[in-house]
Amino acid sequence: MSDSTAVANGAVADAHHHHPSYQRHHFETVEQQFDATNFAMWLFLLTEVMFFGGLFMAYLLMRNWYYQAFVEASHQLNIGWGTANTAVLILSSFTMAMGVWSAEMRKKKLLLLFLGLTWLLGMAFLGIKSIEYTEKWEKHHVPGLNWSEASFLNPASDPEVHEKYPKDQPLSADMASKTEMYFFLYFAMTGMHALHMIIGISILTFMIIRARSGAYTNGHVTYVENFGLYWHFVDIIWIFLFPLLYLISRY
């Protein structure tokens, strides 16, 4: 009784002859491998939804409790940069989807083009973000570090924003202090999002290098497809952050 007995006779006997080099041995077919890894990436995205979900819950609460502060604080964000960033990310989702298409069609040059464009657009997003963050720092709107409520206690002291939103009243001391809460959530949510962008761009860099040697245009589209899912997800987070942070009320 030292050898195992197969459970039933006629078990799948053809097993290991030719399978592509990229098929792992615990999978029976390439389709199974693709299906499993794709499903795994979707499950990972579910965890990301719940991860950001906690931040969205905190935001929902604070915005409803301190609406006035949130409205006036959101006027400090430049709607031009925000819209530009949204367009940049949407475009990068398009180029990423085209990258997946190129891999499926086994067109290496196109794949490199689209992955490269996605990379550039991602960097453009981060560039715009850093312009915005720098502006926040200069105006003393970074909570916990160099925070000042002057722009909200007395909107006239901030002419740049006051011209665009003349109807913003000076806030009471109590409500003005809640603008710090808005900026905390702004930095936490966009910062967490930016961290995910940075991780995505890093993986994208690695993928571009691998794509050059034909790793994804030989039928093994799994990595590109699954990375695409991640990239689109990060775009979706921004699709919600944009109206929630920038577009609270601009009338």
Partner: protein, 116 residues
Amino acid sequence: MSEQHNSHEENEHHIVSPFTYLAILLALLGFTGLTVWMSFIDLGEWHITHGVTLFWNPVVALAIACAKMTLVVLFFMHVKYSTKLTKLTVASGFFVFLVLISMTLTDYMSRAWGRW
């Protein structure tokens, strides 16, 4: 590399055409412009009952964001052409997120009627 035709493509052997992607891109950019434009217009409110008011601006903004998300999920992420399992997975993610939000709100919204 023997059995070919479409065996190494995405889930349902369906490759989405670049023209579809282009159409979705334009729709997404259009929605973005729409939501920015609407944020400059006061859409008013709906007084449901004493102390409970629904403001239309955030509703519209979130609706547009949901529409954009739907397009990205269905087309860029290929869910429209995916298995039932994938669709179920996406749905369950939304469901649990909504449970987090709604059940937490049962506390916050009922703490002081009218001052929420």
